[in-house]
Symmetry: C2
Subunit: 315 residues, 2 copies
């Protein structure tokens, strides 16, 4: 099944995902007083599975520059808190109004909008608690840690992810163009993915040249990821992607399939993946995990789509 014969991506992901889950469960605050409801709501969304792709990127960024990924697990776990907060808020009725997430009712459906807003707010704060946790601080270079937090804060902020989500909402039902669409993808998705990778690399001791190469890889990977995500809204299997399909279509979201059609969009995703893999040459064999991750993204088009699943069943 795997394109990368020499690298066992499944075991690679399994080990790291398990370790991230363990950290999230261990360090997640336990209710001590009356705050039970908001703790439950945030935990409900955070521990609902998910690919843990951003923390994985962070760990992979650390590893590719020769760092020890086990030392920065708390940082990686913080990135997942940020991602989950963004999903909870994006799903709200006044935002994207999505009822299903990670295969379960979204947070505001399982609880209510006020609780969901607070759960998201709390998860954002929790991320920074993880980033500055004494257990992490004693294991990494402090100057690099502060820089990593700075990069991530910018990536998820007003001129990053939040700005991207704003424009994504504003463009609903409007006639868009490739320039605006690229801007939305860059800000809503790519910046944070790139920052996840680069923060891991920074904490792993990356040099400037390594950061430049990873920045190029991260950007291409991020664009490919979002393009594939847009594609799966149309051709995806709801059970496999854990959310309703045709959600973007119904909301008249500005997406690549909407602008260019399915085939051209697939080709564009492939082009980004090729470019991402190309930049990895710099790292030689060390780049294998990142190469496998890039292939994993593009393979989602087939492994998570409806038609291919049926073909697999009929084999």
């Amino acid at each position: 099944m795997e394109k990368n014969n020499h690298f066992d991506l499944i075991s690679y992901l399994e080990l790291r995902t398990q370790r991230i889950e363990k950290i999230l469960e261990t360090y997640f605050p336990k209710a001590k007083g009356y705050e039970e409801r908001v703790i439950s709501a945030s935990k409900y969304s955070l521990l609902a599975g998910g690919k843990r792709f951003r923390p994985i990127l962070c760990l992979a960024g650390c590893e590719v520059v020769g760092g020890d990924w086990e030392r920065i697990l708390l940082f990686a776990a913080g990135l997942e808190c940020l991602h989950t907060y963004s999903l909870i808020h994006d799903d709200l009725p006044c935002m994207d109004d999505d009822d299903l997430r990670r295969g379960k009712p979204s947070c505001h459906k399982a609880f209510d909008p006020a609780t969901a807003i607070l759960a998201g707010d709390g998860l954002q704060a929790l991320a920074f608690e993880f980033f500055t946790h004494p257990e992490l601080v004693k294991k990494v270079n402090k100057t690099r840690l502060l820089k990593a937090i700075y990069w991530v804060s910018k990536a998820i902020g007003l001129r990053g992810m939040v700005g991207g989500q704003m424009v994504d909402l504003l463009m609903e039902g409007k006639k868009g163009n490739p320039k605006v669409l690229k801007w939305i993808h860059l800000h809503k998705t790519v910046c944070f993915m790139e920052a996840s990778l680069l923060s891991g690399a920074l904490l792993g001791g990356a040099q400037s040249k390594e950061l430049r190469v990873l920045s190029s890889y991260g950007k291409n990977l991020g664009f490919a990821f979002q393009i594939v995500d847009d594609l799966l809204d149309i051709i995806g299997d709801e059970k496999k992607i854990g959310k309703k399909t045709f959600s973007d279509v119904k909301k008249q979201k500005l997406t690549y399939p909407a602008l260019f059609g399915l085939e051209k969009t697939k080709a564009l995703a492939s082009k980004h993946i090729q470019k991402a893999i190309e930049s990895l040459k710099f790292f030689g064999n060390r780049g294998e995990p990142l190469k496998a991750l890039a292939n994993f993204i593009i393979n989602r088009i087939s492994t998570s789509s409806k038609s291919i699943q049926n073909e697999q069943v009929s084999l």
Copy 2:
């Protein structure tokens, strides 16, 4: 007018407020692309005035332990971003549903709920961008900075401010008791105020003993602040407090006036202020600014209330 003849609180506040405003304006991100709307919304709420009480506490905490407050202005400014984010989200229709804030339409009225959620989210991220800004990092001890961020993150998180707001909402219209009320105040308001003060002290080079004293002062001041805030919901002058009065009453919020009546509530606020001032003895003359701030809080009962304003007019 001032109770503290030897200390000019007005000049003290004026200088620091001006410097904080200047930092907020200078470092506030400028829209570079299509994110104009969310930048405007967050700026609208952040630069709408306000007492800047949390950043002031942070600077005062730094000063009282002999630190240079001008070095940590970016940190203090970050605290105001956090406070403003919490106000924007608290005011949302599905939360406290308040239309007026800092004397202007609240963010979701001036814009819309989706934009207000994103503006709040972006301000929370911006706070951490400020906390780890290279301009700040080069001026302070990095270990202390990371610890300060850790404390603040916890104070505003699921088991802090966010948890407090959750329970505040859950108790609306319900029969409460002093224990729950104290828990709400502690989590919703006191923890963050205390953390604002302590983070400043930490960055100013505070010793453990100093932090313990300031923790006691901060907690008492925080409780007094929230009790006075509850009082002003009933006896306050809307123009002076910048928000609608009887808002808590209408929503059947659990407050001290609701549980104990006005007089007992005033006495309780005074008791907390006395305790706060008592703990300052440790600092000798250096404690003057914090003493004046404590008196400022309790004096709001008279300076911001309707009746006294009329009396002053008639003098």
